[in-house]
Symmetry: D2
Subunit: 336 residues, 4 copies
């Protein structure tokens, strides 16, 4: 490509912000022009390593004339305002998930997103994971016939601290929301949600009225059923599996071992090393591909990114799951 | 053992009856003394192959003096009466599942089963599958810490004929009932059932108001959650998997390929032959071990068999699932 | 089939003789009519369990009028004489491998075997293993293109006692001989043998001038190369693998785990139970199929059994390997 | 580290030279200061992308005062002279394999390498592959007891062009030489070589008197046996496996699939995508780790790199294999 690199302003320099900054720096098609974080040492550190000017005030970033697009990796409560500011200035946005924990705030912003038409992508990175993307493409190509059941197993390595749980919005809005988006990546027309949540091990979750263990069943308008199995911890490492079951076969995504070596002895055979233990390793390629796709989107191309509407749908499903698990009823959702 | 073989009277000579007859004939500890089936050619044929006297009338079997125990493999509606006759005569019973499709009939028989104390075993053969039994023993031994999630995938090779569906009692009472018993094999204290059923492929199920696709979530009193994923068909062969997920690890039962051979080419690598396609092959060892356990039970020993109470519990869960899937609410069950 | 069962006279009631006796008893197409063993208690015991008349003198078996075929499972030095007696009487023979440890004795019998035309099958049971037979059939069908390399890994669970080693004829004639026959099952036209033998663990082998570890390379007339890797012990259980590598792909036979269960923890994932530890379990189906094929052969049908010529060829390869490993030269063999 | 980056002069800008240049550029501990190639466009292009000054004359590189170490990736016949020039100037060298195709030239340089003591590392990158390095470390830690057998399967995706074969030195010096070094990574004291080479598919190899298919057996002074299985092509992709078999268990390195996805249907189950097809992908981490280790070595630290002596030993084994395959004798080598 002969076009100039896309000049990206990054807001937020926490763990995910740093991943994006590194990917921007590594991309021949983008450069980091601004880094904003009220915690100015974070902004300064990221700018020093990956380029761009640092500021504690995102307004400065929005006012600059060398920002072509905005990447929002700040805390969730800031997302809605920052998206609005970006699209008001005509700047394409890649915003980390979720849009907000409050569907009312999302709905308030929705008409403007629709009318302005400035691209807004949501950071549901798993759509870009090579394995999940491959399965979806092969399902779409008809390789397993009609998709009848989708099973997603998603277990984090370890439960978050109790004070994070307190403000997380609960397991469905915080963790399962990735799986809701993955479900809709395959089956967008979800019509019903049934969720079960329990406490099996985490006192922090119990203390804050949250679940540490959850199973959600989604029904699509076609009759296809999605099962999502979650846990906030996993002794064997980050557990990220998926099975698409169709009328003519199935496609499965396995966990990725950290080694090609297996060990056999008189006690057990073919033992392998535990799985990659953290989402940054497991999804490293997904984050890079997500950025590449956003660059294309910002330049007017097509993108496989989750849209604002997808982000809203994921939140609707999370809200429905929360209600279903609490009130012990299935909840109909208007996505079919 | 120096004891004489246990003389077993078999009632019912359909597919399952024949499996039991063959196992009785092959056991050094049992012999087939009577074979009853109103379809006398069935009884005669089984007796000719595996021993015993044939009759069209089960009364003759009950009246005989060379029957030490009864194996009931006749149609479901006959089970309750036949169990009662057997225990009235003090004969230990192994009865195929389910006890009945009507919980009221089960409850009516229940006090007599309890008061007489004659052993009644239910034919939930999967408890005797070496792989499932191994997992349960290892979970019980604490190998994976506390059991938090149990996932059962159970898909039949092909949907039954529509006229069978019509009298089957529905997918939960007919097919999932095995999985309910398996769930209780690990977690007897189930307190809540949430079920989703849909139609994705089988016109026969749709015609008779049944589902061909189902997912059930069970909650145990401990907070542990069981997920059961069912389909009435499976292109890859009989799909029978289980994962016990605990605080310190997990144990999985894989499907059994029909061959040790794998094939690799420029297109794909490590391809294996499809799974064993039918329950009689997949569970051949389970049926044999189930019989051995029943022989021990009839002689006063201990048994891992499902009891009458287990059979009743499975039916209660099936009824609850049917109601949950129909009314779209979670249903509490009094098993905790 | 409406034909009468084939009446088989069994000579030798050791471990392998008992396997054959049980398979004969279990076959609807055969019956055990005589059991001969100079150790009369062995003969009597086998006859009591599996049928037939017992004798200490094989002559009595040969003189009987109710023997249609002979199965020789006696010690190796008796094979040549017993084969000769059987075919002199027109009785088809299934003889355990090897024919003899001395190629001169084999060659002395060879013309009579050829001229009489009475079927002689050698007990290279692995040709009947479903997995190996499947691979050979798929190679023959062209599934992997032209066969270029065949790799056979064959390791026994544990080394034999030193006094067995002393009379075994050495690892190549005693153990590798199975692999030589397997090699020729795929590539009959072997032209050259190169062998390496060492001592790594077994004092018994060292004491008797034998090897406990061996690798043999065979070259076929087509240029295809066979590699055989042997050890007299294997901590992980009986290790029996094969890879057929062709111009368009490969086919592999894996070891058979004793369980469908795998275990994962923070230390290792997907660990399985060790492999079946003994050839009688691993090759149970092969022994049964070998017998069925012999019954067909005895009745004038075709058989996939190794012939007398195959048995001779395996011994020629073993002799060549012994010379190659000792003299450290490649040895040409006249099988191309 | 606070030390300045190691300034590396690169000689040779072919495929491997470019890999090294990219890794140098990506390393925080090194920089590319000079790039030499008589094909000046190659040098200029690499310098433009990865840094440094370009020259057609390696003498200019050796004369420069901003070269701390030399990386030789030029054609094999130039290696000996370039190593000598580098160490004469006291510059540590990382030289691609092999040192030379002529052991006499290697031996002529050998005393100077020994007496000067300037570090010389050979580019046997596979020692740095995480999987192979892990197996070696676990073997060294005693995890499988005493190492008795090592099996290396190494098959290239596709045969090289005939004109490359003509000058390659033959399969043993060109391709197997990696496996000889890997064998000595585990078992340095090799005492005997037995090799078989054939032609199964490649007219180019046949035309130039080379083999396309080879099996080599190495015997170590301990009695441990190494088997190397080679082919110049592989339909399933680059085939790079290893099994270390010990008295108490085994460790295996599997091929790396290009995807986590498996596919199951009525025809076959658990099919995966073919293996990574090229050594640059398969060994990308190994090349990066090799460079890091060389940087440490150049700074006086320890390194797991193959030394000049290791490079010489690999060539001795290749020569022995060539003689063994041609003369059909086992060849003793003075490495024990």
């Amino acid at each position: 490509m002969t076009s100039n690199p896309l000049r990206i302003g990054l807001i937020g320099t926490g763990r995910i912000g740093q991943v994006h900054a590194a990917n921007i720096a590594a991309s021949p098609d983008a450069e980091l022009s601004w880094v904003a974080d009220p915690f100015i040492d974070g902004a300064t550190g990221v700018a020093a390593r990956f380029g761009g000017r640092a500021t504690a005030d995102a307004e400065e970033l929005f006012a600059a004339d060398d920002v072509d697009a905005v990447l929002i990796a700040s805390p969730t409560p800031t997302h809605v305002d920052l998206i609005e500011k970006a699209i008001d200035r005509g700047l394409p946005v890649l915003c980390e998930k979720p849009i907000d924990l409050d569907i009312a705030r999302v709905d308030a912003l929705r008409p403007k997103v629709a009318s302005l038409g400035v691209p807004v992508a949501l950071g549901f990175n798993r759509r870009f994971d090579p394995a999940f993307a491959e399965v979806r493409a092969r399902v779409a190509a008809g390789e397993i016939g009609s998709l009848e059941q989708l099973t997603i197993i998603s277990r984090d390595p370890a439960a978050p601290p109790a004070d994070y749980v307190a403000v997380s919005g609960g397991i469905f809005r915080d963790m399962t929301i990735h799986d809701f988006d993955m479900a809709r990546f395959f089956l967008p027309d979800i019509v019903s949600v049934s969720a079960t949540g329990t406490n099996t091990f985490d006192p922090g979750a119990r203390e804050h009225g949250d679940f540490d263990t959850a199973v959600v069943t989604l029904t699509a308008s076609t009759g296809a059923v999605v099962t999502i199995i979650n846990s906030r911890h996993s002794a064997v490492g980050y557990d990220q599996r998926l099975e698409a079951f169709g009328s003519e076969g199935s496609l499965q995504v396995a966990n990725r071992s950290t080694s090609l070596v297996s060990h056999s002895s008189a006690v057990s055979v073919e033992s392998r090393a535990p799985y990659e233990n953290f989402f940054l390793q497991r999804y490293a390629e997904a984050y890079a591909d997500e950025l590449a796709s956003f660059i294309a989107l910002a330049r007017g191309g097509a993108s496989a990114s989750s849209t604002f509407e997808d982000g809203r749908a994921a939140l609707i499903l999370a809200d429905a799951a929360q209600r279903s698990a609490t009130e012990r009823v299935a909840v109909e959702v208007p996505l079919g």
